[in-house]
Symmetry: C2
Subunit: 385 residues, 2 copies
């Protein structure tokens, strides 16, 4: 064993003092936490706080995040100086229960002022709420040129299970998720948008190759169905695979690999239980004609988001999925193999003890994430800033 | 909220006193712990202690477990009264490093005194150790009629990675695992048994339909290869699938679904890192012609065993895999779907803080497990005993 002398302790403390002075000089606090995952060491720093349920995030420039807050307002956070600017020009949203101003995503190759920002939110229609997809343009901190692309057929008075995340492929389409609105039959009902992943052209038109185009009763926007409440949606532009992560009932959260026109089973198949007792939900865990999940979480983690990591900052994480976990309060990292089977899982930043909501990858390959406590954090390589 | 009166407290304490008296009367202590998994509530009770690295277990009668201890001795534990009897007639084993007296398993439909018990152990041959498969008969507490069925070609002076678990199909074969003996090239070398799953008839003969029978250089006992150190082996008689769980390098433990003649990649493919630094082991995580694992553990849990649960005591666990975790000190429950993809994982009994080694399902559908602290525990439905 190494012997530690008084001289060692003295020089170590001097070194530590120097580090503290350095941080003070740069105006930086110590990281909120540090960790290692697949040999990638990272640190987590607090960037902003006092936000109100920060639900969605998108980079409008390399250093500015537009963040939606569920109560209906949005802000722009400058990640270099942590300054927060209110965004003007937002539509009225029906912010009750799980509803409100939800996701935001810039179109691929977005440039202000003519580029489009896509939003999802809940809107009151005849005393019930529906999920809306809209787009808008941003000049300075004001949103203009609003277009409602789809006021979805998903009305319910439950104020639960709105979805709703947005993802783009690079072929001119967007995907957009809607939960079952708390009414289980919606999962299998193709005459409503609820319980489905939808696919639209960027202007809101229905792509002619959607699976139910021309079907006598099914809605043509539907890409896949049988979903309970997919609050995470990620498109892998390398493999051209679409992934969802979904809130199941108790003990039945799922990751699904989405294929055109397929049925994901809710509420016929599920690995979950009723909240009120020991009863399994649905008929079984698997059934002919229904796609099986690629991963089931028992107990449930309550996933609020999903991204597919492609950055260079953490090479060992490329191609992995990251989800924010609300109930089990961590970032959930999973690894798909080349066949799309999820073969590994790891839980990060549990030490924060916060409900983790939105995630986004920055141009540097860092991961920014928000928590229901109103905080925005940055996860970046240890000691490289 | 319910009001609690002094009277309530009094009657509750009386009830508790009664419960304590009841336990005392039956000579039972309170459970070591209780828990719930997929809505199945269980309790864990300490059955025996002071064992020496209890490595393998098999039921020789509905209430008696024969337990191997790595240092070379075996005992019979009566699960009804916790009495421990020494077993006589064991062969000399080379108990160094990870070697010693390893697995034990009775043949299907075992009956004393003519039924066979199969053992694996390490044996010294010219100052190096090899893994041996042998069988024997038990009369009272004495083993007789020893037959060495395979003194494997796996000699190494490392005393690491012996395997070695035994599993039976119901078609007259047994499977038996041998690790790479700490010498990586063995994984891909078909002229040694190391790094392979072997398949034999119950009398030790090579089944003529083994994949490498007639191959000019490969050993005919090999069923699959490219394994690092499979210390768990479970055969699902319903689906006729063979599962292994294997120690990977740092961050690369694997569950594999074993198919005849296939290559499982070690040391060409791995998700793990070298122990000494950030370097990935092997060429890549996946490669053409190599089977991908069904699950990877990052970080490693160090799995020491595997069973496939088929009991009626915990209906929601049927078809699930259970592994004892040494390093991460828990029972690891995983759920395969009908295609053999592992879609869920849960960690049980972490609260014990003990390295969990062997697992076995009892006739009642309970799970007995051993720990490196020398304890034998029983996991059974809560309050049903």
């Amino acid at each position: 064993m190494m012997k530690i002398t008084f001289y060692d302790l003295f020089t170590r403390n001097l070194a530590m003092l120097f580090v503290i002075m350095l941080f003070s000089f740069n105006g930086l606090a110590a990281p909120a936490l540090t960790g290692t995952s697949s040999n990638m060491s990272f640190q987590v720093d607090l960037i902003a706080s006092n936000l109100q349920i920060p639900w969605g995030m998108t980079f409008i420039s390399p250093q500015k995040l537009l963040i939606t807050q569920r109560h209906g307002k949005a802000v722009i956070v400058d990640t270099t100086d942590s300054s927060i600017t209110q965004v003007n020009g937002l539509p009225e949203v029906d912010a009750k229960g799980q509803g409100g101003l939800l996701d935001v995503a810039v179109e691929p190759a977005y440039k202000a002022p003519d580029g489009w920002l896509y939003f999802t939110y809940s809107k009151a229609v005849n005393d019930r709420a529906v999920t809306v997809l809209a787009r808008s343009r941003l000049t300075e901190n004001t949103l203009t040129h609003w277009q409602e692309l789809l006021v979805s057929d998903s009305a319910s008075s439950t104020y639960r299970h709105f979805g709703s995340r947005i993802a783009f492929d690079l072929q001119g389409h967007l995907f957009f998720s809607i939960g079952d609105r708390g009414e289980r039959p919606n999962g299998q009902d193709l005459t409503t948008h609820a319980g489905s992943i939808l696919r639209l052209n960027l202007d809101g038109a229905v792509p002619p190759d959607n699976p139910f185009v021309g079907h006598p009763t099914a809605l043509p926007e539907i890409w896949s169905y049988g979903h309970r409440n997919p609050q995470g949606l990620a498109y892998d532009t390398t493999t051209q695979q679409l992934w969802t992560i979904e809130h199941g009932p108790r003990g039945g959260d799922e990751i699904n690999l989405i294929e055109k026109g397929k049925n994901y089973g809710w509420p016929i198949t599920s690995h979950g239980k009723e909240y009120w007792g020991p009863i399994s939900v649905g008929e079984s865990t698997e059934k002919e004609g229904i796609e099986s999940p690629k991963k089931v979480y028992i107990p449930s983690i309550a996933p609020g988001s999903l991204i597919l990591y492609t950055g260079n900052a953490f090479p060992n994480w490329q191609g992995d999925l990251f989800a924010g976990a609300l109930k089990l309060q961590h970032i959930n990292r999973t690894t798909p193999d080349s066949k799309g089977n999820i073969i590994a899982e790891e839980r990060l930043v549990s030490e924060l003890n916060q409900r983790i909501r939105a995630l986004i990858q920055s141009p540097e390959g860092w991961i920014y994430f928000s928590t229901d406590d109103g905080n925005l954090y940055r996860l970046s390589p240890l000691d490289e800033q």
